[in-house]
């Protein structure tokens, strides 16, 4: 669906990247200067790489070998910039409709009212961008990109210039985009929290090269990438479903392949899909099934990898019936417990490690330093109660369709 191969030299910096994705949200992750923005600019046609082949759907946008370079205004790759870049001399409504002037009626998708409702910007339509808050600006920028009827949405750190509250305000909309539209998204970020929450495919860039690419849950748990993914923040992503709610103790039971997790109550219906991030440093390891322990979550698993380490700390990768989990231990513990590959162990996670404020409300998700429970599908329902600007969580209808995509 999306195929990108770019080789480009900019002074001392050489970009040499090659990845593919079959839709969903592809996150390009890396430190600043790793070439993320150059890569996304090449996809948008904002830069002309020395050597490249870029294909979206069935259309070749760039192919230097065949001398194909579709100009940016015919690519239909809407770009959401870090700073929004709303047109200051136009009202919000005019900004939103800008791309519409240039799309042929046959290619149009996305209904104005529905996009405005989804983003909760109906009350802003007559205003000028100068009077909007950072979060409002970014929502308008997302709407403007959607209404240009793109076949690919490019987002370049759309949350980087916002404070934590505003980030939390925007994140649910991006999740909604990912889940409700069949529009492929390429999302550039240097925040592992955002990537963990949003990405279906993860591409890790380092110094202009691709260090890893693949399904997000898989790439996130690769120990050898920890120097790149930023070790204090790393952890595993586990997809779960809500089994039931415990009213007496205010807990919610989640079912994952690895076993059962109990977390502070989530205000979501039973059966909802929930994405949970478990940070490596919140996982303890026991060699026997622990008893007399306050922690509620004990997942049996097998050690598959121990990161080689010279320092006091090392990471373990566990396979818990198919779900990968990462634990961070001291090297001393590894020696004392005689941990080695193939050994059967128990991973212990405190339920309170799942920050209650981080769950369901969407308000503190990004800043939560603890383990996060990330609601993939139905977070919106929770967010609606908090934020009256949000529209009803309309059934995930095909309110937007990507021609050629399906």
């Amino acid at each position: 669906m999306l195929e990108v191969m770019v080789r480009h030299r900019l002074g001392d910096f050489a970009l040499d990247a090659n990845f593919a994705s079959d839709g969903g949200l592809t996150a390009l992750f890396g430190r600043s200067g790793s070439g993320k923005t150059s890569l996304i600019s090449a996809i948008a046609g904002l830069i002309r790489p020395d050597h490249a082949r870029i294909v979206v759907g069935d259309e070749v946008l760039t192919d230097t070998d065949r001398h194909i370079f579709v100009p940016r205004h015919r690519r239909r790759t809407a770009y959401i910039f870090q700073e929004g870049r709303l047109f200051p001399h136009l009202t919000v409504r005019q900004n939103l409709l800008y791309g519409r002037w240039f799309t042929r009626p046959l290619q149009r998708h996305g209904d104005f009212t529905q996009v405005v409702d989804m983003l909760g910007i109906g009350h802003l339509l007559r205003r000028r961008p100068a009077l909007l808050s950072g979060g409002e600006k970014q929502r308008v920028a997302i709407g403007r990109a959607l209404l240009a009827s793109p076949r690919l949405l490019l987002m370049d750190e759309p949350l980087a210039s916002l404070d934590e509250d505003r980030k939390a305000e925007i994140l649910p909309y991006i999740e909604r985009l990912r889940d409700e539209t069949r529009l492929p998204i390429v999302y550039v970020s240097h925040s592992i929290a955002e990537v963990a929450r949003l990405a279906s495919t993860l591409v890790i860039l380092s110094e202009g090269r691709i260090a890893a690419a693949g399904p997000a849950a898989e790439v996130m748990t690769r120990l050898d990438l920890f120097p790149l993914t930023g070790s204090p923040e790393t952890g595993a992503i586990i997809e779960t479903r809500i089994v039931d709610h415990d009213v007496v103790f205010g807990l919610t039971r989640l079912r994952a392949a690895a076993g059962e997790l109990r977390v502070p109550r989530l205000e979501l219906p039973v059966g909802s899909k929930v994405r949970v991030r478990i940070r490596a440093r919140d996982v303890m390891i026991a060699v026997r099934e622990p008893t007399g322990l306050s922690a509620l979550n004990v997942l049996p698993g097998v050690i598959t990898e121990i990161s080689p380490s010279e320092g006091p700390i090392a990471e373990l990768r566990l396979d818990c019936s198919g779900d990968a989990l990462i634990a961070r231990l001291t090297r001393q513990s590894i020696a004392t417990l005689k941990l080695s590959n193939g050994k059967k162990v128990y991973a212990v996670i405190k339920s309170v490690a799942f920050d209650r404020r981080a769950i369901g409300s969407g308000s503190d998700m990004a800043k939560s330093a603890d383990v996060e429970a990330v609601v993939a599908e139905d977070l919106f329902a929770g967010a609606t109660r908090r934020d009256h600007q949000l529209a009803d969580p309309a059934p995930a209808a095909d309110w937007i369709a990507t021609p050629g995509a399906g």
Binding site: G45, P71, H73, Y79, F81, F87, A130, L154
Partner: protein
């Protein structure tokens, strides 16, 4: 006595306004184009173009007028060509005065438009590009509205410069009452005539009034335009 204008003075005032208006209007499209080339272009001879545009600002006006006379006079290469094929004559006509004024005001106009172009966030233009606008549409819908304050300021500057132009005009098209005798030329004539002091004073006051008005109008327009562009 001060308020009673003679017919000659009124003619000079009207002629000056006409010349300045046409000098400003005719040089505007060229001014925008040249400003665009200087601000955005990357071509061989850019510094040369920049130099030529700014030349009238530093050269003695009389020199500019004399060059115009050489080029556009009845025997001049351009003057002969235009007369023969298009029937356009600049020499010793009010159109010649407008041409001289346009050229004298041109660097000011280009400079002002160019400065506002430099201030435009190029990011907005690429954003418009990714939304489907080709380069012409980007210019018309994004760049042009954003440089309106600069264009207005440039127009006023050009108008004011044209209104006070003397040296190049008198050299190129002389000082013919009713045809090329603009306000400064008329003041000059009055000062050379015995008893002309009062007329010179009246025209001086008119000149100050018109210049002040132009300045105020430009301030107002620029403020309004900035308000609209910034969106406050």
């Amino acid at each position: 006595m001060l308020a009673a204008f003679s017919a000659e003075e009124i003619t000079a005032i009207r002629l000056s306004l006409k010349v300045a208006f046409w000098a400003m209007t005719a040089s505007l499209p060229v001014g925008i184009l040249v400003a665009l080339m200087l601000a955005r272009g990357r071509f061989w001879g850019m510094s040369l173009l920049n130099g030529v545009v700014h030349l009238p600002l530093i050269m003695p006006p009389v020199v500019t007028g004399y060059i115009l006379l050489l080029l556009f006079g009845r025997r001049g290469p351009l003057g002969q060509f235009l007369d023969e094929y298009f029937g356009i004559v600049f020499a010793f006509r009010w159109t010649g005065a407008a041409l001289a004024c346009a050229i004298m005001g041109f660097p000011l106009m280009v400079r002002s438009i160019r400065l506002s172009l430099d201030a435009v966030d190029r990011g907005l233009e690429s954003a418009a590009g990714t939304l489907g606008a080709n380069r012409l549409w980007v210019f018309l819908t994004i760049t042009l509205p954003l440089i309106v304050p600069g264009i207005l300021a440039g127009m006023i500057l050009s108008f004011a410069r044209s209104f006070g132009e003397f040296g190049a005009t008198i050299t190129f098209v002389s000082n013919i009452p009713g045809e090329t005798q603009t306000l400064p030329s008329a003041i000059y004539t009055f000062t050379q005539t015995p008893g002309g002091d009062l007329g010179a004073l009246r025209l001086t006051l008119v000149s100050i009034a018109i210049s002040m008005t132009a300045l105020l109008v430009s301030e107002l327009l620029a403020r309004e335009a900035t308000r609209r562009v910034v969106g406050l």
